[in-house]
């Protein structure tokens, strides 16, 4: 028995330590910080001051009365919902297309669509920096100029004329292009795991490709659909790195291009460095994360997927 304990500690200890240090403790610490007036990372001075719900009251107040903060809330809702639809259905369409095409072509396209996900964030944002650049050098501008749709370069993400739609379009487009590949690989591998006899049997029964999609592929991958839906919603709610650079680089407006997660990050690290307020705002994300996560775990029946180890050694 003693040997078992030591080896368990050996295998699991380091990972548990890291998980505790970087997830569990920060989770509680973050909630604690939201009850302190911490600013400018002055840990020594503020960490011992307890100010109750003041940060939450401030947050509530600015959400109610500050139009910029209203913009953050609206942008978050629009961004998450629209990108979610694009990601899930775009991923589904890509998965279907690559499932029905020639294997080599399918592999090439999947590699291409996975590329944005793998690309360093700085490079990926750089691509769109060029693309949406507000001068004539920007690819979009130069195309539109060539087509005579505009007569001078436009700042799609910045110009009040196009706000909020321009900024929304950019952040949704940029994140959507990364996001669709998630649905693509999940749906594709789900389709691939369907026994091919079923497809052939349906063909023998006289089914067309659209009938096969409707009657075989889609009904058999309902679980995956829910899975992708839930997981994409999570990550869209929490994602901020790409948008952070687009804001920093002045590609999109800092008000209408800012989601709640980015607001938390910028408030804590770049703008007002008001960690107390940022922590309060982040608590809402944590609560949504935990609640939705637990619901998803139960709904998706992950428990069933966990195999029991055999034997007693």
């Amino acid at each position: 028995m003693k040997i078992r304990k030591t080896s368990l500690l050996f295998f699991l200890g380091p990972a548990l330590f890291v998980v505790a240090l970087f997830y569990i403790i920060p989770l509680f610490l973050s909630v604690y910080i939201s009850f302190t007036p911490m600013v400018d990372w002055n840990v020594n001075r503020y960490l011992t001051q307890f100010i109750g719900l003041q940060n939450y009251e401030r947050l509530f107040h600015i959400v109610m009365y500050d139009p910029d903060m209203r913009a953050v809330v609206i942008t978050t809702v629009v961004f998450v919902l629209v990108t979610l639809v694009i990601n899930v259905f775009g991923g589904l369409l890509l998965a279907l297309a690559t499932y029905f095409m020639d294997e080599k072509m399918s592999a090439a396209y999947q590699g291409l669509w996975l590329l944005p996900r793998m690309t360093p964030i700085a490079v990926y944002s750089l691509l769109w920096y060029y693309f949406f650049h507000s001068s004539g050098i920007g690819i979009l501008n130069s195309i539109l100029l060539k087509l005579h749709l505009i007569d001078h370069p436009i700042a799609l993400g910045l110009d009040p004329k196009y706000l909020p739609w321009g900024a929304w379009f950019i952040i949704i487009f940029v994140n959507g292009l990364v996001g669709v590949s998630y649905g693509m690989i999940i749906f594709y591998s789900a389709f691939k795991s369907i026994p091919k006899e079923l497809i052939i049997a349906a063909r023998v029964d006289g089914a067309s490709t659209t009938r096969i999609i409707r009657h075989i592929l889609l009904p058999l991958t309902k679980w995956h659909f829910t899975f992708v839906m839930v997981w994409q919603m999570f990550s869209l709610l929490m994602t901020y790195a790409q948008t952070f650079l687009l804001v920093e680089w002045r590609v999109v407006d800092s008000t209408w291009g800012q989601t709640w997660a980015l607001y938390v990050f910028r408030t804590a690290f770049t703008t007002t460095k008001d960690q107390g307020l940022a922590a309060a705002a982040s608590t809402f994300l944590s609560i949504i994360g935990i609640v939705l996560g637990i619901i998803a775990l139960k709904a998706l029946g992950y428990e069933k997927m966990i195999l029991e180890p055999k034997g007693d050694i």
Binding site: L27, S30, M38, A97, M118, L126, S142, M238, I290
Partner: protein
């Protein structure tokens, strides 16, 4: 016998193939165009955009300027060549560190989750999925507070080293829950008999794991290692937050160049050269592991 085709051969697929190929190609234009323009512009005298294709010439000047630490032809060097090389090296150190920490911990914990019975096992495995999806942004404030806290007792000449170690472990922590899942999946596939027979022969659990099981999950280790390397290589936020401003990586170097959106101070093709250099290792490593994306996808990859 299983049919070898995925579909009936008598159905004419050429037309469908062609149609799908064209449709997806059109959808892929933004990706193709933007990546191409980035890479090609790093070799051109100015950014390639539709209006000036005629005036483009091939040049290595951007790459030379980049390595000289210059941002435009006219200006003096802002960085030294030494700085640039150090930034590249820093990027590599972070990537390599994240890879080592992630792979080691995920391989060990993945084994424990797959093969060992212990109290709270199911809870831990489910917790890992939750953690994987957990908002990094709501942790980073506290993680940074912990960093400031913990660096207090350390003599200030060690702070840079400590910052590197901290950023590596903190960034690795984001990958670990997922990669434990991936490794667990690979361990689940190793037949139990292999392990039992070795254990019955009297070997210790750790020895069996090291000598017998690990060689069987090499593909998994390779996949996790490369995925985590790519993640560490691309790290931006953690590097930006934790490393002192003097210790840049390619990510923070590029982020810094364009900050504020000003065009005046930097010649864009030089940034394109930096970006292309930064992209290359990712492209190479990614080509190795692309096929694993499918294998590991159902355990969920960061979306």
């Amino acid at each position: 016998m299983m049919p070898e085709t995925t579909d009936v051969e008598t159905i004419n697929r050429r037309r469908m193939n062609l149609a799908l190929g064209i449709v997806v190609l059109i959808a892929s234009i933004p990706i193709l165009v933007t990546y191409f323009i980035l890479m090609a512009s790093s070799f051109a005298n100015q950014m390639i955009t539709g209006s000036m294709v005629g005036q483009l010439t091939f040049t290595l000047k951007n790459w030379i300027l980049f390595f000289e630490g210059k941002l435009t032809v006219a200006s003096a060097a802002v960085y030294s060549t030494w700085d640039i090389l150090r930034y590249i090296f820093n990027t590599f150190i972070v990537a390599f560190g994240v890879m080592l920490v992630t792979t080691a911990l995920a391989t060990m914990a993945g084994y424990a989750c797959s093969r060992m019975k212990f109290k709270g096992r199911k809870f831990l495995i489910q917790l890992l999925i939750l953690l994987h999806a957990f908002p990094g942004v709501s942790l980073i404030i506290a993680v940074y507070a912990l960093y400031i806290f913990s660096k207090g007792p350390i003599p200030s000449q060690w702070w840079t080293l400590y910052a590197f170690i901290y950023v590596i472990v903190a960034r690795a922590a984001l990958e670990i829950p997922m990669d434990i899942w991936i490794m667990k999946g690979f361990f689940d596939k190793v037949p139990w008999e292999v392990e039992w027979s070795a254990l019955i022969d009297g070997a210790s659990r750790i020895k069996v794991w090291k000598d017998i099981i690990l060689p069987l999950v090499k593909p998994g280790i390779a996949a996790v290692a490369i995925f985590s390397f790519i993640a560490g290589w691309g790290a931006l936020i953690y590097v930006l937050v934790f490393l002192p401003p003097t210790e840049k990586t390619l990510a923070t170097y590029i982020a810094g160049l364009l900050a504020g959106g000003s065009l005046e101070v930097v010649h864009l093709p030089v940034v394109a050269a930096a970006g292309t250099l930064y992209l290359l290792p990712t492209l190479i490593f990614f080509s190795f592991v692309r096929r694993y994306m499918l294998q590991t996808s159902l355990s969920g990859i960061k979306g």
